[in-house]
Symmetry: C2
Subunit: 238 residues, 2 copies
């Protein structure tokens, strides 16, 4: 259902297309926090749609470090790209216990050719994900730690707001400071200091698994946050 809403934001799906979409939802599965769901280099025959909980996609480096590429929240795809690229080029790990719906590669490819507009809608969703990765790259490459953190949390907040799990006041956030460090390219120690800085400046508070935006306007100005790349909605095809 969240998927229909999400894709429906892009193309007005016909009854037939929604039927195909509903038809390919196969198996509901659950995974526990911390245990890899997809592993780097593994070739997978399925993608997943996240129904509840949070996950993250990341890459490991030879020296033991890792870079978290993105976090996934309910409604997001997991491992969509690895269906096309044969082999997954990254790992996916549940941050919390998660529920997913498994979609088999073969089914999805068939659906693509049967209902081209559906493929387009999913393509659009993937494009939006890529825009987020690009924004992430910009942050890691050119923003200092504080702006990077602020931008990151604002983006998460905006995404959660779209699925009704957050607002300009704040959101529930199961991430540890270690996870944020791996995402932002910082050390966990520095993540802690930056959070203190933002708190002391009255911008936001991260405490007990909850992010509070103490000054939303100030924060967006400080982080130079422009949510355009998330707002992309509306029928492109009529």
């Amino acid at each position: 259902m969240p998927l229909v809403r999400k894709l429906g934001a892009f193309v007005a799906l016909s009854r037939a297309e929604i039927a195909v979409l509903e038809g390919l939802r196969k198996r509901r599965r659950t995974f526990v926090a911390g245990r890899d769901l997809v592993h780097q280099g593994q070739s997978d025959q399925a993608a997943y749609i996240l129904m509840s909980g949070w996950a993250c996609s990341y890459k490991d480096l030879a020296d033991g470090q890792r870079q978290i590429v993105d976090f996934q929240i309910p409604g997001d795809f997991l491992g969509l790209r690895s269906i096309l690229l044969h082999m997954s080029d990254h790992s996916i790990e549940p941050v919390t216990d998660i529920e997913v719906t498994e979609v088999l590669k073969a089914d999805l490819l068939t659906a693509f050719t049967q209902t081209p507009r559906l493929a387009l809608a999913i393509f659009w969703a993937a494009s939006r994900d890529e825009a987020m990765v690009v924004e992430h790259l910009v942050g890691v490459g050119r923003r200092d730690a504080a702006k990077r953190m602020a931008h990151f949390l604002l983006e998460l907040g905006a995404r959660l707001t779209l699925i009704g799990e957050g607002s300009k006041a704040g959101f529930e956030c199961p991430l540890t400071q270690y996870l944020m460090a791996d995402a932002l390219g910082l050390s966990a120690v520095h993540v802690n200091r930056v959070l203190r800085l933002l708190r002391e400046n009255g911008l936001l508070t991260f405490r007990d698994g909850y992010v509070t935006f103490d000054d939303y306007a100030g924060l967006t100005a400080f982080a130079d946050f422009d949510p355009t790349y998330l707002d992309q909605v509306g029928p492109l095809l009529q």
Copy 2:
């Protein structure tokens, strides 16, 4: 022609599909180095296929810095994503004078619905581009300057080799040290020092618009370079 070869690596395109592909190539255009081809926030009605020359896609920041997201070489798409996301979320600038083939948004979307397998092939090409952005993110987030530079030049070399414009010996490279700095999230000064370091260690030489891999094996080991994400070839559909 390079496009047919590129997409053909993924799905065996039928004669009809190739015809559609050839059919939608519209206008050939040229752009001079340095003048933006697509500007951030602009809504465009066309995408381009790069025929000759190099370009780069980048994002500007409020404080005047910029982050180059990726370089495009002949055969690559320019602005494909902005066709789906209404509005371009980044700018594209020719690094050299370039020749492109313009493809109109409407034509492309029609082609997508007419020949689903073609859409799939283009989707695959986009996925590969995204994998490169991810790899780029990993480099900027977690690799030190030298490894980052080495990895970057190895990737460029591998991409150029695929289109017959490079080898394990090296490649012609029109990039300035300033451009590399903006791509790697470094200062131009440091780019220069890192290049000297790599040269002094007998790994690679960057001089007079040419990159020479003095020790290809040593370099891949040093940079922990794994070209898997570029090698993705072979028919997924039979």
